[in-house]
Subunit: 227 residues, 2 copies
């Protein structure tokens, strides 16, 4: 468990919650933001939360570029950017990294939440096109940030669905998921599955609104040791 994990968009709700859970599991986490000072302030807040829990992990803050360069695994918890400019600018820093897109391109209108059309098929495929020198996977779309942020909340009954075109990379993220939820991720195959995983978040949000909850997803009858 020696790889440094960076979380870009680390001052957002999902990013900071993922960083918190990973550090709690003993990871060294570098939290990135466009504003490095803001990332450092958030990292300080997370260190306070972790203090007294005896967590061995560590959280530091940096600019997105510095954080990208610092991590062997880099989670993109950044907002959807149709232009792709914010990701493209990080391509040199992300070269050689295992990148995990957590990006959900979602819209909301009178009929409720829905997936936005993406020219490349999905945000993850857009990212892969912009980062030809990185290995790109997608995961962590469906976890509720408020639930993640509550460290005492047991999330081992929820699945993290992992996709990507590199089988070894998928396996590493399947294992990383266990540090977040206590349960290994589920390998769902090719990166284009992100076309389903991303807008499935809109289904969960619709359910959250109707049933006043924070729903997660569990695939039943799956023996994760058989993957």
């Amino acid at each position: 468990m020696s790889d440094v994990v960076s979380v870009l968009g680390g001052t957002g709700a999902l990013g900071r919650a993922l960083a918190l859970r990973l550090a709690r599991s003993g990871r060294t986490v570098v939290l990135g933001s466009r504003d490095g000072a803001r990332a450092e302030a958030t990292a300080g807040e997370l260190r306070e939360v972790l203090a007294g829990r005896g967590a061995e992990g560590q959280v530091d803050g940096a600019s997105n570029v510095e954080a990208a360069a610092a991590g062997e695994i880099v989670l993109l918890a950044t907002p959807w950017d149709e232009s792709g400019a914010s990701i493209a600018a990080l391509a040199p820093a992300l070269a050689g990294r295992l990148v995990v897109s957590c990006i959900n391109p979602l819209g909301f209108d009178a009929r409720g939440p829905h997936g936005l059309p993406v020219a490349e098929g999905s945000a993850a495929e857009q990212v892969a096109g912009l980062l030809p020198d990185s290995t790109v996977t997608a995961a962590f779309h469906h976890l509720s940030a408020p639930s993640l942020a509550k460290l005492d909340k047991d999330l081992s009954g929820e699945d993290v669905l992992v996709c990507g075109d590199d089988a070894a990379a998928r396996t590493r993220i399947v294992e990383l998921a266990a540090e977040v939820t206590g349960r290994p991720g589920v390998d769902v195959g090719a990166l284009r599955q992100a076309r389903v995983l991303e807008p499935f978040t809109a289904v969960l949000i619709a359910v959250n609104r109707r049933y006043k909850t924070r729903a997660g997803v569990l695939l039943t009858h799956v023996d994760l040791t058989r993957g």
Copy 2:
């Protein structure tokens, strides 16, 4: 529980398994097929399965047109038809009916199973466009036909996700789901959510292949009595 439920495409694996479960729950089911004689033969097989179980329901076979006209609720368990011609031909018979699309437009190639592009967004939206005088919902995409066909298999741990633009119709199908699985369906909102529900079946099939299973989907932390 007096409404007759018709199942078009009722000689296929999903159709016959849904018909079997509904009849076991006491429904009168009319199984439709392009070939009415074949539908009647399948209905006879299902009656044999149900005999001795003391099921109060009843299964009859008919042509798709006759079955469409016979049901208050009509499940479309038919194969995906990009042209829409097979559904369009049934429009007069389906007028005034509550139609449930179970159609999954899926493809398979070297990278595995995937959702096919649909001009209307989803098969369910195509159906709605072709049936202006019917009320269209979509559901039952994710249940495994072989699991359904085993009447002793407990499926009450799996969710049936139901979408549609008519709230009252969604509620009727949420209730119908309980007759199939023992658990009410989950109302996930507008019909366009079918754009996610349909290709999510490709995610489940990819998982089935990798983990050698028949996966289902469960939304966690949802109190179905609050819908």
